[in-house]
Symmetry: C2
Subunit: 229 residues, 2 copies
DNA sequence: TAGATTGTTAATCGATTAACAATC
DNA sequence: TAGATTGTTAATCGATTAACAATC
């Protein structure tokens, strides 16, 4: 199995989202050119990304929408479901427990866990929430390999370590904590802070650009006014 | 104002997170070398990132923790607060409304909006939720420039357009929808699907690697067994 | 056939890493 | 002073874009 570049992997769900739309509209084929237009990704890049999933297209026609969907889905392993445990059934945690989108993306959250005894034992959106001390046992017994981390930041590292000891191989980390774990463990951060950082900075840059623009046109206006005199 | 590379912007909050920790422990100075160790980012890269924020260090000593914090925070515009409106007070939306972390990161969610009349009018974590039809008016009057998008996927594009018409300049998009908007509008996606894609694929790659490893050692064992005979 | 498309190979660009001079 | 560190310049690496041959 070839290792697909991260940036390609991150673009594949975008194509997929569009492809579902096309299929829904009854469209049979689609060209890389069109996908490029809609995603803003360069045409050649789209071709390379698609090629990495192993599908081949038809010159002059494009790709069969269904083939492309199947190819991307199987490349991302979204066709057969993987079980996951979620730890930390707070605000964010419980919102994820009921997120039906994940099932379509191969992720099956089979149970939640929380240290708070008032939460443990309850059902959140049909998903059972266990007390935290049952984690290790259940994890080994059910051979669950994906852990979703939605605990408060100060418990993130300890919880992650417990996950790894219990047989978790990949952690989907929603906390801002930088986890220090064994080399082999896969950690994927949903980094809201990183995203917010980009947004904030880009907006400041924009403000400054715009105010410079304003000054320029103001100066220009003054010049024109002076010329009139 | 120089344009800072996206990848640098995404790393800055990581450093910041560690720096808060050091400050809390009463540590006065920190070296780029140490930050590199803890983040897994290359030493030279850390130096370049830090340099871009405009701070200068002291050879042989390192950087003053406080200076570095101030420099990164002001670079990300996290020191003065920006107001934001959140649209779509469902599961995810309401979990974000009460997320106190954001206030420390310069984001002040001043109101929520929802089309559902049963949600509108209520308070979620002390934040008022208005009916959607008040959005345009309030947005212009309060000069809010940041919109947080947490509506269902099929309403994302229409809602985003309404935001832009109402004066929103930057959209923090939590939906999987690819927004098609005016060039100048800043869109920052919190792309859970992209993140899940990377996780899923990396895990499949790992499974295959491990099973190959198993086969290899099994073969090796067989060879040894045969040798014994 | 001509035009549109695929898919590959070469060129460019940007980000990361290596090497090294400067300094408290 | 020697060692540790900063910060810069050069080299490498990987990702993106450009050019082009192949094809239904």
């Amino acid at each position: 199995m070839i290792s697909i570049p991260v940036l390609t992997l991150k673009r594949l769900p975008q194509y997929l989202e569009l492809l579902y739309g096309f299929e829904h509209e009854g469209q049979d084929t689609i060209s890389a050119t069109r996908l490029a237009e809609l995603t803003g990704v360069h045409m050649t890049q789209v071709r390379k990304d698609i090629a990495l999933t192993g599908v081949v297209g038809i010159p002059k026609v494009g790709h069969k929408v269904r083939d492309l969907i199947e190819s991307i889905e199987s490349c991302l392993n979204w066709k057969d479901h993987s079980s996951a445990f979620l730890v930390g059934v707070g605000r964010l945690g419980s919102s994820l427990l009921g997120y039906s989108e994940f099932k379509r993306k191969g992720l099956n959250i089979v149970a939640g866990f929380d240290t708070d005894p008032s939460v443990a034992g309850s059902l959140v959106d049909g998903v059972i929430v266990h007390p935290m001390d049952k984690f290790a046992n259940l994890c080994r017994r059910m051979k669950v390999h994906i852990g979703i981390l939605t605990v408060p930041a100060d418990q993130a590292q300890a919880t992650a370590e417990l996950m790894v000891e219990s047989g978790i191989l990949a952690i989907w980390n929603f906390t801002p904590t930088l986890l220090q774990l064994d080399e082999g463990i896969i950690v994927e951060d949903v980094d809201m802070s990183a995203s917010l950082a980009v947004l904030s900075r880009r907006l400041s840059e924009k403000y400054e650009q715009d105010s410079q623009q304003d000054n320029k046109s103001k100066n220009k206006k003054n010049t024109i006014d002076q010329e009139k005199q």
